[in-house]
Symmetry: C2
Subunit: 342 residues, 2 copies
DNA sequence: AATCGATCCCAAACCGCTTTGGATAGGGCA
DNA sequence: TGCCCTATCCAAAGCGGTTTGGGATCGATT
C-alpha cells in the first residue's frame, strides 16, 4: 500500500493525502480524519526511502566504531551508550546506523557517510588527544557531537563529557583524607582524552597536599580485567607498596581485587580501592551496599543526552557548538577504609 | 556532484554513466575507464537514498534491541556480536541499523521496519522459549536469522547457535571426572533458550552418572556479577555445600569467585568453577593461563557468521532456512581441580 | 546491395514521496 | 452585483538514481 493507492482509494490526490498525514493546515479537518482513518485501516506506512529522497534528509544518525587491528577491544561501555542514544533516536523516529570499520578506513567512512547522504549527523566516540576526526568533520560539514573532549583541538565543536578531572581529584582527595599517601593510579590508555584528564585530576590532588607522584605507582593500559590485575600485582610487589588504588573502571577494578586477594590481603582493610563506575546495567556495583567506592556517572544517560544534543543541532542548523559537562557522584562502598597502621 | 552533473561533464547520458559505474556490459571499455576516472577525480559517490528508492532495496540490516522496563539489562555480549556482524556488513556495503525500543513496542517496530522499507532483513537476538518473533517475522515476510534457537517453535527458520547443551554437558562431565558430585548450576534466565539447553546438558551429564540434581543447587537469574555472587553465596552456605559450580558467564563467574573468597576458600582448590566464556574482547579469560576453566565460543565470530548467513539469504531469496551449529571448546584453566578430600 | 547482428549509447519512464504553483468554490463586503 | 479572500484541493515538477526500450553505426554475411 503506497500513497498513490491510498489516494485513489479515497478519491483524493496524493498531494492532499500527504498533507493530511503530515499535519499541513491547508486540508479540511473532516478530510484529514477520513485520511487518517483510511491510513490506519489499510495500515499504510510511508516508504522511508522515498521520504528520504524527497526531503533530502537521511533521518538517521551515524556511529562509527573503528576496530583497531592490533588491540581490537570493543569498548564495553559502548553497549550502554548506544542503548541510551538509541532510546532518544527511536523516540524521534530517527534511525541509528552503526559502521564498524578497520581504523585505517575511518576517514573514508566519514566522507562516505556524508557524500552518500546516509546520515544527518554523527556521534564521535572515544576521542583522543588532538583527535583528527574533529577537523575532518568540520571540513566535510557533517554535524557531530563528541562523547568526551579532545584536548588540543583548536576548533570549536560540540561535546558532552563527564568531569573526569574533578572526579579523579575528588577520589584521590578522599583517599588522602583517609590517611593514604602511597596511592597507585591504574589508568586507561593515556592517549585517550578521558584518561589524560583523570591523570591530571589525580596529580592535582596529590600536588595540593605536597605529595609527589611516584612513576612506579602509575600505569596506563587497556581497561580490562587482566591489565588491572597485572598493574596492581606489579605495584603490590614493590618494597613500599601502595595502600590504595584509584582505578579507571569497574572491570579493571575486578582485576585489582584479584591481585589484592592473591596476596592474601583484604580489599577495604589492607588496601583501599576507588574505581570509576559507568553504571553499566550488567555490571552493577553491588546492590544496596556498593562493592567498590566509586565515582559514578551513567554512560547510558550520557548516550541519551548526546543524542538529544545532536538531534537538536540537526533540527536547528544555526545553532553553534553545544557543550555539556556532567559531574560524577562519589559513592562510598566497601572497598575503602583508613590507611592501616604499619 | 550528482550523476547528472557528472554525465554532462563527460558529454554522456546519465544512463551510460550509471551503467559504466555499475559494470554493465553494454558500455565501451574505453568509455568506462573515462567515466571511472572522472568519478574518482570529482569524487562522485552516488546518493544512497536515490539508489535505495530506485532499486527498492534498503541495503541495510536491522537489529532490534528490546529494552525491558523492569530489568533493563543491556546484554554485554551484544557489543561483541554487533562488532562481528558490523564487520561483515561494511565489507558488503550494507548498513547496520539498530533500533532500541521498549519491549512492548517490539512487534510494531518489526512491522514498521518492513512496511517502511528500512531494512532488507533482521537479526533476532536472545531468543526465548517459543519465541513469538519467529511467527511474526514469518508473517510479515522479512528475511531473518536468529542468533540462537527457539525451542518450541514449529516453523522452520534460519539460525546460528552454539551447542550449549553439549558444552554444558562436557563441562559437567569434566567436573564429574574430577570426582565432584555436589555440583551447583548457576544459570542464566531460564526463559532464554540458551539457558534451557545448558540446563539440559547439565542434567544429562548428572543423570548419566546416576546422580540426581538437587534443586537447591540450581539457580537461574540475570547473568550479572551480583547475581552470580548471591547464588554462589547461598549454595555455599548449605550444610552439604557444593564442591564445584558450572556458571553461565564470565561475569557471573566473577561474582562466584567473590563469594568463594568471602568464605576464605580458594577457587580451584576448595571449590572448582567452570564458566562459559563468550570470548569478549574486554573480558579475556586471563592471558596465557586462563583464569577460569571454560567452555568457550567467540560471540564476535558468531556475529560475523550470522550476518553472512543473512546477507546470503537476502541475495538469494530462493534459499530455504539455513542453520549452523557451532561447537564450544573446553579450555582448562586454574579454576578447577580434583574434589578436595573431606 | 540489402540484411543482419553486435556494439554502444540515449530518451524517457519509474521508484514513492514532498512541495510548488495554481485552480475552484463559496462567503464577506462595499 | 462584483470583487477579493480564504479554504480546500490538485497537477506536475522535483529528489537522484536505475532500467526499459529503442536508435544509430558499422562490419560481416548472403
Amino acid at each position: 500500500m503506497n500513497l498513490k493507492e491510498l489516494a485513489s482509494k479515497l478519491g483524493l490526490s496524493p498531494t492532499t493525502v500527504s498533507r493530511a498525514l503530515n499535519g499541513y493546515p491547508e486540508v479540511n479537518e473532516t478530510t484529514r480524519e477520513r485520511v487518517m482513518a483510511a491510513a490506519k485501516r489499510h495500515n499504510y506506512r510511508p516508504n522511508s526511502r522515498a521520504i528520504r529522497l524527497a526531503t533530502g534528509r537521511a533521518m538517521a544518525v551515524g556511529h562509527v566504531i573503528p576496530i583497531a587491528s592490533r588491540h581490537e577491544i570493543v569498548n564495553p561501555v559502548f553497549a550502554d551508550f548506544i542503548a541510551g542514544a538509541g532510546e532518544t533516536y527511536s523516540r524521534n523516529d530517527y534511525d541509528m546506523v552503526l559502521s564498524v570499520v578497520p581504523d585505517e578506513q575511518e576517514e573514508v567512512t566519514y566522507r562516505g557517510l556524508k557524500s552518500k547522504g546516509n546520515v544527518d549527523g554523527v556521534i564521535v566516540h572515544a576521542p583522543r588527544l588532538d583527535d583528527p576526526r574533529i577537523g575532518l568533520l568540520h571540513e566535510i560539514g557533517l554535524p557531530f557531537v563528541v562523547h568526551g573532549r579532545a584536548t588540543g583541538s583548536t576548533l570549536p565543536y560540540s561535546w558532552l563529557d563527564v568531569n573526569n578531572r574533578r572526579a579523579f581529584q575528588r577520589a584521590t582527595e578522599f583517599l588522602l583524607d583517609l590517611g593514604h599517601t602511597r596511592i597507585g593510579l591504574i589508568n586507561g590508555l593515556e592517549f585517550m582524552d578521558f584518561a589524560i584528564r583523570r591523570r591530571a585530576g589525580f596529580a592535582d590532588a596529590m600536588g595540593q597536599r605536597g605529595l609527589h607522584v611516584d612513576p612506579d605507582l602509575m600505569s596506563s593500559d587497556e581497561m580490562t580485567e587482566v591489565s588491572g590485575y597485572r598493574a596492581a600485582r606489579r605495584m603490590l610487589a614493590l618494597s613500599e607498596r601502595p595502600t590504595a588504588f584509584v582505578v579507571a573502571s569497574m572491570i579493571s577494578g575486578m582485576g585489582v581485587r584479584r591481585a589484592i586477594e592473591e596476596r592474601a590481603l583484604v580489599m577495604g582493610r589492607d588496601v583501599s580501592v576507588i574505581i570509576h563506575d559507568d553504571d553499566l546495567s550488567y555490571l552493577k556495583n553491588g546492590e544496596d551496599l556498593p562493592i567498590f567506592t566509586a565515582t559514578r556517572s551513567s554512560v547510558r544517560e550520557a548516550g541519551r543526552l548526546a543524542a538529544e544534543m545532536l538531534l537538536d543541532m540537526i533540527a536547528n542548523p544555526g545553532l553553534g557548538p553545544q557543550q555539556r559537562l556532567l559531574e560524577a557522584e562519589l559513592i562510598i562502598g566497601q572497598s575503602t577504609g583508613p590507611v592501616p597502621k604499619p
